[in-house]
Symmetry: C2
Subunit: 179 residues, 2 copies
Amino acid sequence: LQAATADSGIPAAGAEVAFQFLHSELVSFLLREQLQGGGGGPATVQQCRAQLSKLETMGFQVGQAYVEKMTKDLPRFRDDLEIVKFLCKDFWASLFKKQVDNLKTNHQGVYVIIDEKFSLLVPMARGKQYLDRCHLYTAFPCGLIRGALTNLGLRAIVTAEVEELPRVKFQIQLVQHST
Amino acid sequence: LQAATADSGIPAAGAEVAFQFLHSELVSFLLREQLQGGGGGPATVQQCRAQLSKLETMGFQVGQAYVEKMTKDLPRFRDDLEIVKFLCKDFWASLFKKQVDNLKTNHQGVYVIIDEKFSLLVPMARGKQYLDRCHLYTAFPCGLIRGALTNLGLRAIVTAEVEELPRVKFQIQLVQHST
């Protein structure tokens, strides 16, 4: 095998694109599973919930592991806001090649993040039919965010709203520690 | 939200790590599904095959889409060897942050690729128990390679051998076109 071609001039698609495609493939896979299991009819609420939960769990695990790797040599964050800002800037940039477009907070534990062109939704933005599909495409990123926050010491409920692909609004509701 | 922190000095874990974690999570997920479906006993050959086939298909789809994106503005490759070299260098580097360690060919359509530290196996290299698990962890990358080659016009059978994690040997057997 010849020497490296770091200078080959071939544009690297970038692993974040592979991550995108793999997520998209995972959603399609679970959709197919759901359709096969449902005898061809529309999915029941229970079936939707089960698939959502699987995706959310996978997102959670990936988010936890990834943030662990990103932050292991960093000093501790000062407060919740600093953690959420880290999520919106460094975490987002590293995974999605852009930062979020907007972050709002009520300063009482609720944060709203808007990404106008969320990369995990881009492969799906072509097919409107996904909009009806039980929010299967936002379950993984919600888990991803929840996992990242959990690893940084914040318990949270994370939900997503999509009105028009690929724009997404995530809402993070911090859960106060009982200690 | 404050300005970008491209100079924040925080080491980016890199999306290829997220890709790694997501693959690892996908394998764990299918393992869990298999164990739940199998009533706790060892998986049957049919169950193993079904899970392998799901992973291989997902890899195939991702490989196809990814190479499509990587090569859409490139001139056509001259021959099979050039395609395989592209796979070993640019494709590998873009997804796994390294090139393959060794490429051999018999010049009759068989290529053997060795990666001494294959990144998709790194998260699994800690747990020896995975070695017995129906090769679940190599099915996706075999599909990935097959998908990449297919998109570049080469039909192939791709198999993998792992003697010691995370070292892997992929064998590519090109299938001659019947035209």
